[in-house]
């Protein structure tokens, strides 16, 4: 399975991860599909997506929203892509609509046939077993006005992911508290950083931290 989790960031911040994600496709002229978290202003997201990956020579792009009705034709075409990129936004809204659209089974098939599945922020959290990390810290969390109770997600990786991490006491306090309650590690990455999973290999981009059983560990060996 080829998976890339992005924390977030602006323009050039993710150049390294973008490059690695494209390399993982193993295709000279890859086809890329953006699935934004929401169709509201999705055109802006698409424009930015094209702008960033065009710099790396990509020419074939699609975008595809799951929170509005879509056709089989477009879905089928999107699943033929070499790389699918799940955008950021409200994690709960995105999860709700991905589930409603039955997208997880499509993504599983996509991964099995060698496609690269990327996620940024909310899109990355959705690749983990559940989306609890979107609910904290209390000063910077996603709203859940739909009061979603079932927070289980795709589980294509066996760790939790915390995007937009800032190395500060108040973040650490909440992350350490959360890590005491779970049995899997939580990886926190700052903007511009992320995690690359290439089958059994996991590598980190940018300075990352592991929170596990109430302890914080800084990962010193990282790419980029």
């Amino acid at each position: 399975m080829k998976i890339v989790l992005y924390s977030g960031g602006n323009e050039d911040d993710n150049r390294f991860l973008n490059q690695r994600a494209l390399e993982l496709t193993g295709v000279k002229s890859p086809k890329l599909t953006l699935i934004p978290s929401s169709s509201y202003d999705a055109e802006d997201d698409f424009r930015f997506f094209v702008q960033e990956f065009s710099k790396l020579g990509v020419q074939k792009f699609m975008h595809f929203c799951v929170d509005i009705p879509y056709t089989k034709t477009v879905l089928k075409e999107a699943m033929k892509s070499d790389l699918i990129f799940l955008g950021g936004g409200n994690t709960f809204y995105f999860l709700k609509h991905l589930k409603k659209a039955g997208m997880f089974s499509h993504f599983s098939k996509f991964l099995k046939r060698g496609g690269v599945l990327c996620g940024l922020s909310a899109g990355a959290i959705i690749l983990t077993p559940h989306v609890h990390t979107a609910s904290f810290p209390h000063f910077d969390r996603d709203e859940n006005p739909w009061d979603m109770k079932n927070l289980s997600a795709m589980r294509v990786v066996n760790f939790e992911f915390f995007p937009h991490y800032k190395n500060s006491k108040r973040y650490d306090a909440e992350l350490l508290h959360h890590s005491k309650k779970t049995t899997i590690p939580l990886y926190a990455c700052a903007d511009g950083g992320g995690i690359i999973v290439d089958n059994d290999q996991i590598s980190f981009c940018g300075k990352s931290h592991q929170f596990f059983q109430g302890k914080k560990l800084t990962i010193s060996n990282y790419l980029g």
Binding site: G8, K31, N90, G123
Partner: protein, 619 residues
């Protein structure tokens, strides 16, 4: 019935101009140049203060644009501003009924100047010459000049005038607010104002000429005064009445007034100075305006009940009176509005009505130039009418290229060099756009419709990205095409494949690809690059959720029923967000995205957008 002035109740000096922090408001005092230049075209009324009003909405952006408030004024309805708005616009006319019944109003409440209701032709009036018709429940507050441009300001719901249909059909004057007549009572309602507001702001944002709502003053029982602004509120019908009455002097003065105003506002540029050439120039402008307007309305599915009387439209092609204006999600070309005594025209008949308006202007110009009125039939093949026909299709060609997503460079080249190829594609496009459901005509709440079944915006949005991924040589199958293009109105039977339909699907794609390749070849850009640009632009232009008439009605109900009630400032914020989302200009400056920005829409706006989605295929 002439111009009416009160004798007993004299205006008080106390209501005259006083110093205020908003001096421009003082200029809105009933004075308007039309009163002096064409006095026969207006009926003047004295007005008095109407109490009990509250400012339900104020358009801060528009107020800044016309210089009513300083540019640095925040979007905040201060007490001073609120008082100024109410003082200026919360008025009601003293009409014929009031006079006949010797109503005496407190002197201090009567304004020093008269306000005019304008006369114009209206088909719903018994007199087909426009001698008794015009503003039935509106008055013009005045004219404001800012940065060299003048704006007309009028208010709807300011009392029953003698120009309303009810007054002339029943041959009696009505007291303002008389509950036995609806439209004739002279009042308007808050939901009318809000509908006009949301609709007009969306259309204005997308580059269409339209009246815009400046303020809504609400009263008890859902009543309101709705204040509107445009740089020139004259309609063709303001001239057609004088033509029908063979009143050459008044007609000429009205046309001259209009031309002079457009020149002053720099909308007419390089206008000739000799009068005969100036009238020809004016006619050319009318041709251009109405050709573009009718093509735009047809291509953007805007229905505005255009008719021979030249009402419901402004001289510059702007939209006015949103009561019967709609924007369809699909090309519902069989929809007709039921106006009790008559059916409206349909969207596809609008072009013929626009053509007839041009024909009437050809008659007007000839009449003015030669001082002899000839039959309207003599102008059927007038060069202005022929020119209208040509320009209409020029605009249709331009519109289809823009809708496809071509930028202005590609569009200009294709228009100049490949008209035939564009028209071939447009023919295929029209074939699908016009397709109707096998279900036949259906009743809808306010009229009748025969549902269109295909959503052309969807195919224009999805096709370029499918080609981009598959390659231009790999067409999409007939089933895939129908899968994308089908709307919520299409039944299984509607989607049946036929030989002709299959051929059209292939032809559509062949001609689409041809246009892409022509642009690519000329500018030496790879077809994929052209497609990518087209794809990104088209995703904005043909956004999944675009407002329709029904969605606006539902949104307005939502705003009206909102508890706690939205303040004027809150409506302003919600409106801005909503309108920004409905801005379908692919060249607009877009926010910097890192494709993860938390969307800013408030929950109310998201609710509105959800409504837009639900009604996206409707009328």
């Amino acid at each position: 019935m002439g111009n009416t002035k009160l004798k007993e109740s004299r205006p008080s000096k106390e209501t005259s101009k006083v110093n205020s922090g908003f001096p421009k408001f003082q200029e809105i005092d009933g004075n308007h140049p039309l009163k002096k230049q064409v006095p026969e075209a207006v009926v003047e009324y004295q007005v008095r203060t109407r109490h009990g009003g509250n400012v339900a909405f104020f358009n801060f952006d528009l107020a800044r644009e016309i210089g009513l408030i300083p540019e640095n004024h925040p979007d905040e309805l201060t007490k001073e501003l609120k008082d100024e708005i109410l003082k200026t616009f919360s008025i009601v006319i003293i009409n014929e009924y009031d006079m006949m019944n010797n109503f005496n109003f407190p002197k201090e409440e009567i304004r020093p100047n008269t306000y005019m209701a304008t006369r114009y032709l209206q088909l719903q009036h018994p007199c087909k010459k426009g001698t008794t018709s015009g503003d039935g429940r509106s008055i013009w507050n005045g004219q404001l000049t800012h940065k060299g441009k003048s704006y007309d300001i009028s208010s709807c719901g300011t009392g029953a005038t003698k120009l309303s249909p009810a007054c002339n059909i029943n041959k009696k004057f009505y007291q303002t607010g008389d509950p036995t007549v609806s439209y004739g009572c002279g009042y308007s309602e808050k939901d009318e104002g809000l509908s006009s507001l949301f609709f007009s702001e969306v259309l204005a944002k997308n580059g269409l000429e339209t009246e815009r709502v400046l303020a809504i003053i609400e009263f008890a029982k859902g009543l309101a005064i709705n204040v509107r602004v445009h740089d020139n509120l004259l309609r063709p019908s303001h001239m057609f009445n004088h033509l029908k009455q063979n009143n050459l002097p008044t007609l000429k003065r009205m046309v001259d007034y209009y031309i002079e105003r457009q020149v002053k506002n720099k909308i007419y540029k390089n206008a000739p100075t000799d009068s005969k050439s100036l009238y020809d120039y004016f006619l050319n402008k009318v041709v251009e305006t109405f050709a573009q307007m009718s093509a735009d309305f047809e291509d953007q599915y805007i229905f505005c009940w255009l008719d021979w009387d030249g009402d419901n439209i402004l001289m510059d092609g702007g939209i006015i009176d949103y009561g019967s204006v709609r924007q369809f999600g699909l090309y519902h070309h069989e929809y007709r509005y039921d106006d009790v005594q008559r059916w409206s025209t349909s969207i596809k008949e609008q072009k013929q009505k626009a053509r007839y308006i041009v024909q009437t202007f050809a008659q007007i110009v000839d009449y003015i130039k030669n001082e002899k009125k000839r039959s309207i039939d003599d102008y059927k093949n007038h060069h202005a009418v022929q020119s209208f026909e040509k320009r209409f299709f020029d605009y249709k060609n331009r519109n289809i290229l823009m809708k496809m997503g071509f930028n202005s460079k590609f569009t200009a080249y294709l228009l100049e060099n490949h008209r035939k190829d564009i028209e071939e594609f447009r023919n295929d496009f029209t074939y699908f756009e016009m397709a109707k459901s096998v279900k036949g005509p259906q009743k809808v709440p306010d009229g009748i419709n025969w549902n269109a079944i295909f959503c052309m915006r969807d195919i224009l949005r999805e096709l370029p990205q499918l080609y981009l991924n598959r390659g231009l040589n790999e067409k999409i199958s007939e089933n895939e095409f129908l899968d994308i293009i089908k709307s919520s109105y299409a039944t299984k039977t509607d989607l049946k494949r036929t030989l002709r339909r299959d051929l059209k699907i292939r032809s559509f794609q062949k001609n689409y690809v041809k246009l892409i390749n022509l642009a690519s070849k000329k500018f030496k850009e790879a077809p994929e690059k052209v497609l990518l640009d087209v794809s990104m632009r088209s995703s904005v232009i043909n956004k999944y959720d675009r407002v329709t008439g029904d969605s606006i009605t539902t949104i307005v109900n939502k705003v009206m029923n909102r508890k706690p009630k939205l303040s004027a400032e809150e409506i302003s914020v919600v409106l801005k967000e909503f309108v920004e989302y409905q801005n379908l200009n692919p060249d607009k400056e877009r926010r910097t995205s890192n494709f993860e920005t938390e969307k800013e829409q408030s929950r109310l706006v998201k609710g509105m957008l959800q409504i837009v989605r639900e009604y996206r295929d409707g009328i």
